[in-house]
Amino acid sequence: MKRIITCTVQDRGGVLNRITGMFYKRQFNIESITVGVSEIEGLSKMTFVVEISDDQKLEQLTKQLNKQIDVIKVSDITDKAIVARELALVKVNAGNQSRAEIQGIITPFRGTVIDVSKDTLTIQVTGKSDKVDALISLLKPYGIKEISRTGVTALLRGQQSSQQVVEVNSFPV
């Protein structure tokens, strides 16, 4: 099962290395990872998408993350009401004939053309991962030259703050 796990960490040197090293050491497979500043100075937010086989492994992962000195909070938000987005840049072959056709494909996805060359278009699309996947598969027949994806970043919807998420280091009683 795919899980989205967010992690608030102290912005200290080596923190990313320490955390990804733990994933590697404990045999967890990171599908995507995004890191950026948070709303509080000195704290960063990491969002991981991880493929995990069972609940026991999931519990172990969240515990190992919590154990890191630099980690302030860990939340598994997969089953919460969330907004999750990623951004993709796709460079696709596009001669004179296919340009209009490609424009027609990307419009329903709210994709935009951000660069044009003689033979290519570069398209930017934002959305849930499956939407990005769908657009990419539609563009494939034209010949994709390059893809760059950011990986998922996510927030809880509306009024919920991440404080309300079940703290994964506490135990069910």
């Binding site: 080596g14 090293g21 980690v71 135990f171």
Partner: protein, 573 residues
């Protein structure tokens, strides 16, 4: 060696450089001993120690590996953090084994490594190594100091992290320009670690659940690990076991946390544990693990480990709970506080009279056994003799392998903090420097190092430190001219193909001892052993005893790799 009363330390010099700040920070952390080895990148630190006339004792080892194992031994027997200083590059990389060992066995260490100057970090400078990258997976935490003014805070924080929660090694990498650079005279060591707040008090609900499970249990077993010793909870454990008549199995690292000669002790569990201990775990209906981590050498095949039991696990590290064994009752807490909560709670004791009778019968029927060797010394008997001659009160340090298992089986530890062994990592070369560190930490106690003829050669240079400080460590080389445990596995599981495991051209250990200015004695007949032991235990200096045993000796009973805890071989003759 007598302990000298410590007076309030006054620093001799102004805090002019980063190294001076470091010295003050170590004094503030109440450091008494530092295990170290100098080198280019730590010259400013060594100079500052000298200028301040050594406000703590610095012990020079002969290899960085020696410093860190000594610090581990020191930490194990004193409960205080072991402090290590080594230089950059090779100095730091020589510490790697010891840091990993301390991480596995939860030993509090604070390690300082020199680093090349900040202006050349990343240029493959002379004696540069990526110490942060190398040590990140094997430390509880690590720092590279970026600003001189941060040093006091980082040192203070490092001692806090190393010694609280589940203890572990913390490393501080100090670029040379930081230790040599001028300060602005400020000294601020206040810190905050918002991401690190170990849970020490047990959740009362979980304690109640545990108490209920205990009341209903017919076949309860306590499993006591090193966490009991680290939490200084041996008295509470003993009181709890006695109050409800609960049998106790110790892990290898937990030996001594419950008195080995206590009627409720079932001895050690696991691969070379007692039949009684392992079958108690196998048949138990309630297993209460206190401060052990369900290591694979304890559990054997997971599906055969405590298959009938409800499992409760008290541990200060939540990540250990449920890691290897499915746990019904998790208790995240300091072992002492959890045991006190259980002792103070209202609880009907279990009805386990039949269970205790059964275990008692097992103990009588299937004790640990050995045969006397025809010509050479039988190693198990030797350990028993050492136990007697040292009145069972010595601190014992070992390496890893056959001698370690014999020591664990036959030196019945009755007190905590007296057993130093490399459990998790299984490090050869650990026992000699660890014993030296222990003797430095507890100068008035008898310290014994039981080693193999293989492991002793990995750190034998540290005999120089024993001679230098006249440390009365008694070193026993259990010499079978083989890498005994490797050879035993080759005999049992690899068709007696002794591939690179026989040490038939060993050096003359007596001459080596003599070369280091240490008394050496060779003993190869059982009849000579008592006199030798009497002699060396009344001798106030270091001794190396080369004890000859047959290479055919094996450690029994045992659980073969991949087998269950109920499938021991060699239980009886």
């Amino acid at each position: 060696m007598k302990a000298v009363a410590k007076q309030e330390v006054q620093l001799k010099e102004e805090l002019g450089t980063g190294a001076d700040l470091l010295i003050k920070a170590l004094v503030d952390a109440k450091v008494e001993k530092v295990f170290g080895y100098p080198g280019g990148a730590v010259l400013p630190i060594y100079d500052a120690m000298f200028r301040h006339e050594f406000p703590f004792e610095h012990i020079l080892f002969r290899h960085e590996q020696g410093t860190i194992h000594a610090a581990e031994g020191y930490a194990r027997v004193t409960g205080k953090p072991g402090v290590v200083i080594a230089t950059s590059g090779p100095g730091a990389t020589n510490l790697i084994t010891g840091i990993t060992d301390a991480m596995m066995d939860s030993l509090p260490l604070v390690i300082f490594t020199g680093q090349v100057g900040q202006s050349v970090i990343g240029t493959d400078a002379f004696q540069e190594a990526d110490v942060m990258g190398l040590t990140t997976p094997i430390t509880k935490y690590n720092y590279q100091v970026q600003n001189i003014a941060d040093l006091p805070r980082i040192v203070n924080e490092a001692f806090h992290i190393a010694t609280t929660g589940r203890p572990g090694p913390v490393l501080i990498d100090i670029p040379k320009n930081i230790s040599a650079g001028a300060t602005d005279g400020e000294y601020d060591n206040s810190f905050e670690v918002p991401g690190y707040q170990p849970t020490v008090n047990p959740n009362p609900m979980q304690i109640r659940k545990l108490a209920n499970a205990l009341s209903q249990s017919k076949k309860p077993v306590l499993l006591a690990g090193a966490g009991v010793t680290i939490a200084d909870a041996s008295d509470e454990l003993t009181a709890f076991a006695e109050k409800y008549q609960l049998p106790v199995v110790n892990t290898l690292l937990g030996l001594g946390s419950f008195p080995g000669s206590h009627p409720l002790s079932l001895g050690m569990g696991g691969m070379h544990g007692t039949y009684t201990a392992n079958m108690a775990i196998y048949e138990a209906d309630l297993l209460i693990n206190i401060g052990a981590r369900f290591d694979d050498r304890l559990t054997g095949k997971i599906s055969s480990f405590a298959p009938e039991a409800k499992v409760a696990h008290i541990d200060i590290d939540p990540a250990e709970i449920g890691k290897n064994i499915t746990t019904e009752i998790p208790v995240v807490a300091d072992a002492k506080r959890a045991l006190l909560a259980l002792l103070n709670g209202e609880l009907n004791g279990p009805d386990n009279k039949e269970w205790l009778e059964k275990l008692e019968a097992n103990k009588k029927e299937y004790p640990l056994w050995y045969d006397h060797s025809d010509e050479l010394i039988s190693p198990q008997w030797l350990i028993e003799q050492i136990h007697q001659a040292s009145k069972g009160e010595a601190i014992v340090a070992t390496d890893v392998g056959q001698h370690q298992m014999w020591a664990a089986q036959f030196y019945h530890f009755n007190k905590p903090h007296n057993w130093i062994t490399s459990g998790g990592l299984g490090t050869m070369g650990f026992g000699l420097p660890a014993a030296i560190g222990a003797q430095i930490g507890r100068p008035d106690d008898t310290v014994i190092s039981i080693l193999g003829d293989g492991g002793v050669q990995m750190t034998i240079q540290e005999l120089a430190v024993m001679n230098d400080l006249n440390l009365p460590v008694k070193v026993f080389i259990v010499n079978n001219e083989a890498l005994g445990m490797v050879r035993q596995w080759q005999e049992k599981f690899h068709g007696e193909r002794y591939s690179s495991s026989l040490l038939t051209k060993n050096p003359d250990f007596l001459k080596i001892a003599e070369g280091y200015g240490i008394r050496g004695i060779k003993v190869d007949k059982e009849k000579d052993v008592p006199a030798v032991l009497e002699d060396i235990f009344s001798y106030d200096g270091p001794v190396v005893v080369d004890c000859r045993i047959s290479w055919k000796e094996k450690v029994f009973p045992m659980i073969a790799p991949g087998k269950g805890i109920n499938e021991m071989i060699g239980v009886t003759r």
